[in-house]
Symmetry: D2
Subunit: 351 residues, 4 copies
């Protein structure tokens, strides 16, 4: 029939010598985005997709006719036709899969959080170093226009020295069975915070509660930095409303990032307080500053696409990577500390 | 390589006897949504896609490998392998394409607005009637959860008799070259209004102004209904902010529909005024009522998919159709009247 | 008892020679604000308050113990102890009261709208001119931080040439018995518009409907200016939500004024469209510009206080006045035209 | 002059036998509201106002001509003409002033927080009990329409068993010199929480940081209740935006209270999760419920007026009082615990 009323284009673009062939493991919630974006990058292709679920493979086949499908991850990982593995599976499987991939000489792109323990993360980093392979942990937010703009406002001194970083990430969440709300939601905030703030966190105190299935579904994390900088993260799977708001207070300016606001994600306020000379305990010690608000334009891009392109560049040109194994390790270290503190009702855990 | 590391699923579902084969004409802004949704419906398939632009066909080929592509619409329309034509092209081409399709015995799904003139619309309706073919005009909003919910609240008497319908649809718009902002944006409001309100509009007064390319880019339309119901539509291509808000005032309750609000699109207010017995010109003639607000849950669906399924049902089971040729004609009649009134600075045009 | 446990301050500040003594007529919704603000200005005092309602006088007495109260306005107007009359009564009484005041040699501060007809306004202006007396019409909004900031942004060229002015002023309103929603709410918008826009309006088209008590409670006004500038005002007494939003589109920048936003009343958008060279009817004729948004700090002041001070200055130093009789007349002229157009279903009325 | 053009009303209402005469100490930020509201209640009067600042007394005199003013609080407290003392001064003075008042046989209305220490609070309660005098701590929020409505929704079982209480109270705050942000802002949240939640809190963990003047200006408080209920309070004097939002999660329904929303302060969501039978660790253990949202009308009242009337009733009819000394003590206990925990970086403090 087709020939009767039209023609189809044949894609016969020659495969470039430096095309990086990916094996993708996992086609659940996030896997489809990885497959779609890898497919759209000129320097990459998805050589095969692996999932244990036949239903998942069927969905993949419908969305991407012609995609090679496989259910045995070991077979995928050992294939000589593949240069990199994307691990898009639950966190408790990351270590085994990433380790096997590295041992088979593959670069690894791994979903956040990097691993279930600090030890696992350290072992993977060491393994990759030995083999001269790359690890990228999928801290997607670092590649959004909003986070890059905030980073710029901090780096160029617009905000001045930071006072606090206060993030709220709550909604009626998808309950996870193997991890608590800290391991599910806080990796976003911790990776962003770690990227934005130059200093290294010193200690963590966290509180929370389990209501439904044995894991904390509500948690509050305080991160202490050297000096007077403090961070706080509020994560909650039981909120009727979705909130994605971060306040950053600086000496010179203060910033509100509302990630749910389509048009004005970032608002920079020319507001603050100045310490005055102390005269009398009952005199006002501080004066207030109030001025304009400014919402800088934020680049609208698909962060995951930029991130994956950055992974390709890192492999091809041996470039350093902002969200490599060490960044992933740092997040896991804080997650471990937070979970440990929650269990002891807020007792401080030094990092 | 593929066979070495996996397999691909082969889609060998037998073609059902009652599968309706579509020829789609136009792959610009909206065409991709038509192709994707037709592809996802069990009772339909896209037999071929036609566009004059090679670039558009290339995009289609990337998104839908294997899709039959064609650049001559006449060839598509005359193909005996096709039962229905989707016309997803600029409005000034609708009449010719739809007419040819009907003359070739095809059902027609046509983008809004239906045609450029009332005469064209009437001719197409007559032609379809003679040939016993179906026309559906793509008034997608009628199939959204929000509009269906509002219709229900009007039909079941929740709002009471209607006082006014006031809609604002403004943003920094894509300038059209062949039509003004009324023909571009108001078909949404007029089709929704026509669907929700039982009465037939009697007259239209419209005002507006041309600032940039010879077509009105700002316009204000008043629609008079029998009795005291009045409607107003504010459309603007030059607004720095996007607004999609409709207020509906009823005797019993009042409603605000903010289509940009993800979670609370509809708000129903138990507010209003009651006329009291007139005693004295200086006494209060009305009393106020204020109560709870209620945001009914609105079904989250892809309206276009439901609309296309409804078109299939209409063809297969010869069912009547809420957005058929007559609904399209009614919208074109109002667009013509509004444009005519704008040219005479608001002078009323009777329908 | 008082003397047993404390003392009271006695106000014996000498009355300044140039203190202007006001007689205030009307203590309904707005009168209390006039009395309170006149009392707080160093250059003014309320010599007496007049209202026909004993209940109103009792309220005044509670709020301002010692205030002279009177029920006969003629007595107040003729008192030689008074230099200025504030007319804070329904619009249909303005002309008679203001006329009597001017004939008795008093300056007049009169509530908006100035008068019920153009003829009345013209007569009062002439009378004041002859007697060398001042008239101020209470267009309070002109003295708000927001309007003064917008004026500045227009005057300094920030917005560029204006395309449109589009205001929405709706809520569940206090029904008036003597006037429609246009005369009640639109004076705000018309006076602001007239203050902000340098050009003189040429024509008006308005539509609306009466639902409850014989006066329009919903109305839409279009104002045509020379060139391509157009204004639109949406006023409604039957809205479940309160909206006070004005969009101003300029060639260079666009502005949104949301008067209900406590902190960010004004937002200036670096957005717009540029006309490109026309090449082909199907080529894009315009290009889009999108940039930062900026919310300038708006001075938080009580506008009425500044306005009344301005009236005092105008009297004392014989200064010109932005909201004098001519400004009031211009608004009344537009109100008359709008009401006349509404009655003829939008037919244009030239000014 | 006055007699020439009018008359003044004379207030000669006889003083009722049961009129309660107040001495008010403190006319800073909040004192004017106390004086104004006491003046408006039929059963109370302000016999005298005391403040050490002559400037404050002058302000009071302008607003309330004839008010008895005094600068020595001891004289006020010992006056036999006074039955009750309102202490509207900084927290570190509460204990001394309230103690003297009770010792002089006066009832005491005291600003929040009740006292600086638990010991002081306990001593005052004991003293009042002995003397059969009443103490009310000014937890004004308990008398707002919003809090009373929430209480009703909890009491009648609408929300079901509570999961969490999460409040954010941040803004660019008035820096206090004698107390930190916890003692300044958290009394609101703690008193509301204590009023709404039937259970008694068991332990507190708090974190925070000092940036400017030696007191914490940012703090995060977690309150543990018996069972699985947890509360969290985020207070911050260094926020560029004002936030007053409380989320309350219940088994049946969830609630958001945004105190800055004029019209829709409370939103009740028919959303939640249900625990299902556990089948497999990888099966979904919970199911989601999503439904309508409902914004109940909240009574618009001046909470302080209702609170003071309640104090009068409590004195006159010897009624019990929801915000008496014990409620004040409970808040002080939590403030002490929170400050203590902050100093030890989140270490839990049992109550």
């Amino acid at each position: 029939m087709a020939t009767a009323i039209g023609t189809t284009y044949t894609h016969t673009e020659p495969v470039a010598a430096d095309l990086i062939r990916f094996g993708v493991i996992g086609y659940g919630y996030w896997g489809p985005n990885i497959v779609r974006n890898l497919g759209s990058l000129p320097g990459a292709c998805v050589a095969a997709l692996c999932d244990r679920s036949q239903q998942a493979l069927r969905r993949a086949s419908q969305a991407h006719p012609g995609l090679n499908l496989i259910s045995d991850s070991a077979q995928l990982i050992s294939s000589p036709l593949i240069q990199a593995i994307a691990v898009v599976t639950p966190v408790w499987t990351h270590y085994e899969l990433a380790k096997a991939a590295l041992e088979n000489g593959k670069h690894v792109f791994v979903e956040k959080p990097f691993t279930s323990t600090v030890d696992q993360a350290e072992e993977l980093i060491e393994l990759a170093d030995k083999r001269n392979l790359k690890i990228m942990v999928d801290h997607t937010f670092l590649f959004t226009g909003a986070v890059r703009k905030i980073r710029q406002l901090i780096d160029d001194g617009t905000l001045g020295g930071l006072y606090y970083y206060d993030s709220t990430r709550v909604n009626l969440g998808l309950f996870q069975h193997d991890i608590n709300v800290i391991w599910d939601l806080a990796p976003h905030d911790l990776s962003i915070m770690d990227f934005l703030i130059d200093a290294r966190p010193e200690a963590i105190s966290a509180t929370g509660q389990k209501h439904l299935n044995g894991h904390e579904d509500v948690a509050f994390i305080t991160v202490y930095f050297p000096g007077r900088l403090i961070a706080h993260i509020n994560v909650n799977w039981l909120s009727p409303v979705k909130v994605r708001t971060t306040l950053i207070g600086g000496e010179k300016k203060m910033l509100v990032w509302n990630d749910l606001d389509t048009d004005e994600k970032l608002k920079v306020y020319d507001k603050g307080v100045n310490i005055c000379t102390k005269q009398d305990v009952y005199e006002l010690l501080v004066s207030y500053r109030s001025g304009d608000m400014w919402a800088p334009q934020v680049e609208q891009v698909e962060a995951l696409k930029i991130e994956l392109q950055s992974f390709l560049d890192c492999i091809t040109y041996n470039k350093s990577i902002i969200n490599g194994g060490l960044a992933g390790l740092q997040v896991v270290r804080m997650l471990e500390a937070a979970s440990s503190s929650v269990a002891r009702m807020g007792e401080v855990v030094y990092l």
